[in-house]
Symmetry: C2
Subunit: 219 residues, 2 copies
């Protein structure tokens, strides 16, 4: 799909609440997914939802997820159960003149679908590369790649970005007209994620420098 | 419940994968919840999971969630459907000597249960206060509190912290013994969320100073 393929082909991926926050460009979906590190995967187990944080990677219109072959959620998803995968960025705390209009600025992407177990060896490597490079760009080629035993222990799932929605809130509070004369401060306190100083593994020989792929990392 | 009441009374709230990451103190649950701003609420709609980001507040062993009375997920939760509410903090990117052992340092809390619709007027105010104060400490008393119309438009749900699990990963990568002699850098790149400069609402009179509750905010 090109970045101009519209999102929201189905009722459940159509933003209903506060529809002015909905985004309909595929490029917006890619941007939200690519800017995140962790997503929340929802699956139904025994009739009840389970929501767990998980890493991911994107290759075109496919999101790759992985996990232990022994994890119940991964097994259920691998069996074709419907899943929901959500990535959220919190961009600011919105202070309003009323408690009711306090809010958050955020970007979120919600993907619905059924995951596919990746069995083709070449796609498995491509998916694991996407996962590794998403978390730690440059690490796939700089570190030891998975051996046969590691590959056997890893379940790789692919989720198509066919059915997805993106919601974004930006800007100041939406206070009531009647409250605008209030002497209460209103505005946005921006939030962002920053990286700290790299902490070398205690088992690392002293002469191993921090590589550019780590030093130059921004999130 | 006191902070010494154990977590994990049920199989589904028992950490199964990588059990050494499980925490069993109620204080750990409170700490993870209290340090977060947004959680992910999972609910089953039409047999499929839906996972949406949402604000929350905690009062003792109750998590309060709110939303529009028109939202489908809130309506389903209000009708007693099982929910899962998850809060995750990403603390670092774990760089390993192998792609397989790349990981994330994180803290996550997963709460299972059925939400209760709060109808008692006093508890509704208490819940909304908890929600507001969690997002923006000091705002409940400093800003206009909800009027009758706003209260009528707001669904307030309470979720008991009876069935919950906490998982934490800290520290360096868990590389294989055989990889330790590798010349590849390994360690942790810490991540944290910081606040930026407050951005006043454009409609704010010029002489309204940024209050301490905003200036002093840490997340």
């Amino acid at each position: 799909m090109s970045t101009t393929t519209p999102l929201s082909p189905t009722p459940r991926s159509t933003v209903r609440r506060l529809g002015d926050r909905g985004r309909t460009d595929r490029a917006d979906l890619y941007a939200v997914l690519d800017a995140g590190l962790v997503g929340h995967l929802g699956i139904v187990l025994g009739g009840a939802p389970v929501v767990l944080p998980t890493g991911y990677g994107r290759d075109g219109d496919t999101v790759y997820l992985h996990g232990s072959t022994g994890a119940a959620t991964l097994r259920a998803a691998a069996a074709g159960a419907p899943v929901c995968f959500t990535v959220t960025h919190l961009d600011g705390i919105v202070y309003a003149r009323s408690a009711f209009h306090h809010s958050m600025n955020y970007r979120s992407a919600v993907v619905h679908g059924a995951a596919r177990v990746v069995t083709d060896p070449a796609e498995r490597l491509r998916g694991l590369e996407a996962l590794t490079e998403h978390l730690a760009p440059g690490s796939w080629t700089a570190t030891r790649q998975p051996d046969r035993k590691e590959l056997a222990a890893t379940a790789l799932l692919a989720l198509d970005l066919t059915e997805a929605s993106v919601k974004v809130r930006t800007g100041p509070p939406g206070d009531d007209e009647a409250d605008l004369a209030s002497p209460v401060w209103a505005g946005v306190l921006p939030l962002r994620t920053v990286v700290g100083e790299p902490e070398p593994c205690p088992l690392l020989p002293e002469d191993v420098p921090v590589p550019d792929r780590v030093l130059g990392r921004r999130v």
